[in-house]
């Protein structure tokens, strides 16, 4: 047996294991683990890899549906998009690394999520990112924004996958812990999807890609703990990205996938060689025998535990069919990538590692997965907040309020960001950031179909009421996809929360999932993949709960893709949905009244669904010239987006029943703003009535001003204000 010394509980605790987890290890091994074995248990049982706090709650999410080929549990989710093709997608967080080292943290987040997608046989075709930064005034924010954006661009641009969309928020709640969530969408042939189960003993295990170094060791453990004032010291745990190697890895893997050589394939992501080999063996019901001397190494004198825990980037582990080694080696060598046979699958059910003539690890694989902790953490539902009556909010000039809102951090143009991303490479981008549409639209290469993709969350709603906020994140994503004319298909999620050992945080998590589950079920919008990021706290202060939803929709005729940039003078403005002037937790309240209180707008799922399907039918029938969903900033901000993008003014009448603040800026859910030509208007209103959808003709596209009730604002002034906020913050300060 192992020559290495046995460890003790103090060492286990330093790696994040608690006493009961340590006892399980002793029990399953019948002895104390050595350093390598302990390292393997500690990362496999980290929050990041084992989902020990979240697993039982994630089960509530619907994961099946007509279009679902593969739900959660693999590297990414797979849905059927017809024509023999599948769409493979996932979203993942890289929060902690991006805070410590923004460029590399964000870059490797993009690289990691792309590997999850091409591992399954898909060519990545679109990237999105959901970013949450601290207050614009915080001394670190500018550095973090510029580093993260450069990192995302530096990686995606080089690999040659367009970055087509995303969202960016600023809030003091993220001052000590930013969120960087990256989403990747790929296209594969439906009959050529690759999974991670390494079935069959005696098959060779191939290591390909970059060499293994000491970077990222204990990254998964870092992602499973809070930050404190020692974060600077964690810089060495951030990995370094190499997009050029990633690009070659994509091409080489996709080439190998056209042969019949692969039994199973998995990227080395969090917990590197450990999790990839354990998961492949566990799912395949086999053992695995690796000789660490054969692992390509970038540094000298690496110990077994360092090799097993390294999170060096751009590496893949492949189990081949016997006898296919030379075919695989030829392909990877042609792409100038390291390739090495490092072991084989066995029928022992054990993970056995050899190093310099010694056996340095010999443990059963089953317990690593089966006995992984699964906690039912105590949680406490947050107290409901008071509804805010719009009548109690002071009366102000709506045009001036609009000017302030459109210049506010969350609303202002993010051009400074997305101009640093290649949005057009691959030549299939129909709508991207800045493209005047609610979701990105990417054509499926060589077809008339397109995917609509959106990432959404409104953290201030989730903070105020995790259940309604969880629902809202899902419906907003659904709405954004509908507004482009695509049928919503399925979602991935990236659940960013604080420390789950605190009952109030666990309460946010549990209730947000309850809300998401209800919305996904009613809308038939299953969750096919996802990621949980907990411990997003610094010095005891948690981030606003942020369950980001990444949705994918499908349209059959890309020429019908809808946006809000083509409204014409003379078009009628039609508002769909009910308006109650809901100002609780609204952007208006926060930016204009400096208040962050009140219950968030409730989501009526049945109504949401009815209105959404009505909009989709209307777009398919060509009845609208522009469609925009209502979200942050309500009617006035949606109208402003539409006017700026369409380059024409508009006029919206005041409400007869609601005060201006509630009518123009209320954030009632389930609403869309349409531009409809005069000759289509009567038909649209009649059909809406027949469908049980509230539709009101509230204004007209006209002139060069935005007129709200009896106040006006020039479009040029609004545009300057909208465009200037972020460049001013980033460059002139």
């Amino acid at each position: 047996m192992s020559m290495a010394k046995a460890t003790d509980f103090e060492q286990a605790r330093a790696l994040g294991l608690n006493e009961s987890e340590w006892q399980v290890i002793l029990d399953r091994l019948g002895r104390r683990p050595n350093e390598t074995e302990l390292g393997i248990f500690s990362v496999m049982w980290s929050e990041h890899c084992s989902y020990k706090s979240s697993r039982r709650h994630l089960r509530k999410l619907p994961t099946t549906g007509e279009c679902v080929i593969c739900g959660p549990g693999e590297n990414a989710g797979v849905i059927d998009i017809g024509g023999g093709l599948a769409c493979i997608f996932k979203m993942e967080s890289h929060n902690h690394p991006s805070y410590i080292e923004p460029y590399q943290g964000a870059a490797t987040g993009v690289g990691g999520i792309m590997r999850d997608v091409f591992t399954m046989g898909a060519r990545p075709v679109a990237l999105l990112n959901a970013l949450r930064f601290g207050s614009p005034d915080h001394p670190k924010t500018r550095t973090l924004v510029s580093g993260v954006v450069a990192g995302i661009g530096g990686y995606g641009n080089c690999v040659g996958v367009p970055t087509v969309g995303g969202e960016t928020n600023f809030h003091a709640g993220y001052n000590g812990n930013i969120l960087v969530n990256a989403m990747c969408v790929g296209i594969a042939k439906k009959d050529s999807i690759f999974y991670s189960a390494a079935k069959g003993a005696g098959n060779p295990v191939l290591y390909v890609g970059a060499k293994t170094g000491r970077d990222g060791i204990h990254g998964a453990t870092m992602a499973s703990a809070e930050f404190d004032d020692q974060t600077e010291a964690k810089r060495p745990t951030v990995q370094v990205g190499d997009p050029f190697t990633e690009k070659r890895l994509i091409e080489a893997c996709l080439e190998l996938m056209q042969t019949s050589c692969i039994v199973a394939i998995q990227d080395m992501g969090a917990a590197g060689l450990t999790s990839s080999s354990v998961e492949m063996a566990d799912k395949g019901g086999v053992g695995i025998d690796l000789n660490l001397d054969h692992v390509p190494q970038r540094e000298t004198h690496m110990t077994p535990v360092e090799m097993m825990l390294s999170e060096s980037q751009e590496r893949m582990l492949i189990v081949l069919r016997q006898g296919k080694e030379s075919i695989a080696e030829e392909i990877f060598k042609r792409w100038e990538l390291d390739v090495a046979l490092i072991g084989k699958t066995t029928d022992t059910g054990r993970m056995v590692l050899h190093h310099k003539g010694h056996t340095v690890c010999d443990i059963p694989i089953g317990p690593l997965g089966d006995d992984a902790p699964n906690y039912d953490r105590p949680w406490q539902a947050p107290a409901p907040l008071k509804k805010i009556d719009a009548q109690d909010v002071p009366n102000r000039d709506p045009a001036q309020a609009l000017l302030i809102l459109m210049h506010s951090p969350d609303m202002a143009s993010k051009r400074w960001i997305w101009e640093q991303y290649d949005r057009h490479v691959m030549a299939d981008t129909i709508k991207a950031s800045g493209g005047a549409a609610d979701a990105a639209v990417v054509r499926v290469h060589g077809t008339d179909k397109a995917l609509a993709i959106s990432s959404d969350c409104t953290p201030r709603y989730v903070t105020a009421d995790p259940f309604e906020g969880g629902k809202q994140a899902v419906v907003e994503c659904w709405r954004n996809i509908i507004a482009t004319g695509a049928k919503p298909m399925a979602v991935t999620d990236c659940l960013n929360f604080g420390n789950p050992e605190r009952p109030d945080i666990m309460g946010q998590f549990v209730r947000a999932i309850d809300g998401m589950a209800e919305a996904c079920t009613v809308l038939n919008f299953p969750v096919v993949s996802g990621n949980v990021s907990l411990y997003n706290e610094t010095a005891g202060s948690a981030i606003p709960p942020t369950p980001a939803i990444g949705g994918v929709g499908l349209m059959d005729d890309v020429t019908r893709a809808m946006g809000f940039g083509a409204a014409k003078a003379g078009d009628a403005l039609v508002l769909l949905g009910q308006s109650a002037g809901w100002l609780g937790a609204s952007l208006y309240l926060r930016e204009i009244e400096c208040r962050e209180d009140g219950a968030p707008p409730p989501v009526n799922l049945a109504q949401e669904r009815r209105i959404g399907l009505f909009v989709l039918d209307g777009i398919t029938a060509g009845q609208f010239t522009a469609v925009h969903d209502l979200s942050d900033g309500g009617l006035a901000c949606a109208a402003a987006d539409l006017a700026l993008a369409s380059r024409c003014g508009l006029n919206i009448l005041a409400s007869k029943t609601l005060p201006n603040a509630g009518w123009f800026f209320g954030e009632d859910q389930g609403r869309y703003l349409l531009a409809v030509s005069a000759n289509q208007l009567p038909g649209v209103l009649t059909q809406a009535q027949a469908a049980g959808v509230d539709a009101a003709h509230i204004g007209t596209i006209q002139g060069t001003d935005i007129t709200l009730g009896n106040t006006s604002l020039g479009l040029d002034l609004l545009r300057r204000s909208y465009e200037s906020w972020l460049p001013d913050m980033m460059e002139d300060a």
Binding site: C158, F244, K247, Q420, R423, H424, T429
Partner: protein, 220 residues
Amino acid sequence: MNAAVIVFPGSNCDRDAVCALRDHTAQKVYRVWHRETALPRVDLVVLPGGFSYGDYLRSGAIAARSPIMASIKAHADRGGLVVGICNGFQVLTEAHLLPGALMRNAGLKFLCKSAKLRVENTQTAFTRAYADQAQTDIPIAHHDGNYCADEDTLKRLEDEGQITFRYLDNPNGSAHDIAGITNRAGNVLGMMPHPERAIDPLTGETGGLGFFRSLAGALT
């Protein structure tokens, strides 16, 4: 007529170039791996955009020393047409098939946006389908597009009509607002904007159609 698109490790606009050429320019489009030493029988060679070798050294510097480059030089010397787009332009300057160099953008950031261009010389194989002094919109997407050359070279480029495309609103600090140039003989062109991304109204602009149609005319 036939065309070849060279694929370096790290090229990422090779497929886009192949599609554009196939749809608008050539009968047969070959993809040629950078390690080849001979070209197929072609009239046009395209060096596509991307990040050859990651651009970890100077952009295009390593690709310019690829095995295939000798036969591309020979093709150019025979009067064959050569186009370098974006990274391809960088490779052509590094290979000394075109003068000057592409430096980091003046703003130091990667920039992906539409660029308004003036077609300065319509007497080339690459621009005949544009009207003289025509303005056209073709997107840029680069980090290193800031064209630099010494004063003598710039004067020669101006005097000999080698400046093919000029930015109307210089996005990257290029000398003389240069977006694209040819060699003296007029058979080798380098340009930073991506015409292959501007040929389909669904994806946005169509300012690149004139480019591919000019080539189609030159090849027949």
